[in-house]
Symmetry: C2
Subunit: 241 residues, 2 copies
């Protein structure tokens, strides 16, 4: 009998239903930009992030006095002061605070995965630290990509491929799904040059139109932090080693 | 303005809703094995295939005297004489006949795509003939992969990548979706050795357990026919040039 744990990749939140309940750990990934912003936020001393699926919920929190952000289609929603740019969270005002956030894709994945035993946040920014932590847990791992408006996206898949490639190389994990094999191949093709590989990506083109090149360069630069955000009672907090 | 037509890849029938109505031509792909069997059937002189989504419908046709087949989880359903093995359709009894077929994944994709202007059937068996025909149509093309029980699969994606790679190389087509870019990369990685690339594929392992190695070798050998099955009034017939 195969004693290895599984590491698999799910391309979109819609497909999560097919994977649910088989994995103790779900890694939620939205490289451009929600989960990158979350990693940056904890690196910069935020206390907690309350992810909410709708703009309305984010506004209710704001009216109660919370720092609250919302992003849709890559832009800050009217009535909010920030969205999912990682640079927003480098503001000293956020240190030690609880912040509410609703984003197009990333908070939706957190919402579908919330009943898993352990939900952590991954991005290229914390990819090595997260992968090493996952290796130590001895649990089945699902990398849940957020995609783009329901569809597959490349940058989340490549990040998921990086995590699964690391775990598979250890010999302690195995992958059964074709999506996991594809993610590993795409990561291996991309690993030498993320920006070059993603140049033709639809999402990157969309963000370029929004003048977000600085955000993209930041989000695609691996290993800028060792923080691992983890979901506890509906809030993201920093995992304590 | 970009005058090029689009060629995109949709990984699963569930995701078709996100692509619907933007494409005049939908190419339905289920390499292992439904659409390969359909191509083999027309190459061998069948008159028409009536694809039905449920086993019950296939049984109703059988009771009316039709030749009817059904496959679920890779095996022939009890009470039927054939499923989706291409070799079943090389039977001289099928020449000139209308045959009813229900399969796990392939007939479901045909069902979700049926309202598109033109629905054709693709597999590696007819990939070059189909690609050349598509190039001449000057219409937007969606390659709809059937996947495996709702999930992404490699062999359909590689076939879709082969078609889109051909159309993109002509300079007359463009691709905007990340799924299309990924399919092209995976095809380029696989193109020298389909069997080797798919060795680690979950689907291939599943079929190996069912002793279907001959079917797999056949289905993964490109360009064994020039027939293009097309959906007309709910039946698949051979496209006349």
């Amino acid at each position: 009998m195969d004693e290895r744990k599984r590491v698999e990749v799910c391309f979109t939140p819609d497909e999560y239903a097919y994977y649910k309940d088989e994995f103790e750990i779900v890694v939620v990934i939205d490289v451009l930009r929600a989960t990158s912003a979350m990693c940056a936020a904890f690196e910069n001393g935020i206390k907690a992030i309350i992810p909410v699926p709708t703009v309305e919920e984010a506004m209710e929190y704001k009216q109660k006095g919370y720092l609250a952000g919302a992003e849709r289609k890559g832009q800050i929603v009217e009535g909010f002061d920030f969205g999912n740019s990682p640079f927003s969270y480098m503001n000293p005002d956020f240190v030690g605070k609880e912040v509410v956030l609703s984003t197009t894709n990333g908070t939706r994945s957190l919402d579908v995965a919330k009943d898993a035993e352990i939900v952590v946040v991954g991005s290229l920014l914390n990819v090595d630290a997260l992968s090493e932590w996952l290796l130590k847990q001895d649990k089945n791992v699902l990398c849940l990509c957020s995609g783009w408006q329901g569809k597959f996206n490349l940058e989340d898949t490549i990040c998921a491929g990086a995590i699964s490639d690391f775990l598979l190389s250890s010999g302690k994990f195995t992958a059964n799904e074709d999506s996991s094999i594809a993610a590993k191949y795409l990561f291996q093709s991309a690993s030498k040059n993320y920006l070059g590989f993603l140049k033709s990506s639809s999402h990157r083109r969309r963000l370029k139109n929004l003048n977000l090149n600085e955000d993209i360069k930041y989000c695609l630069t691996p290993n800028q932090t060792e923080v691992i955000p983890v979901l506890k009672d509906g809030k993201l907090v920093k995992l304590e080693a």
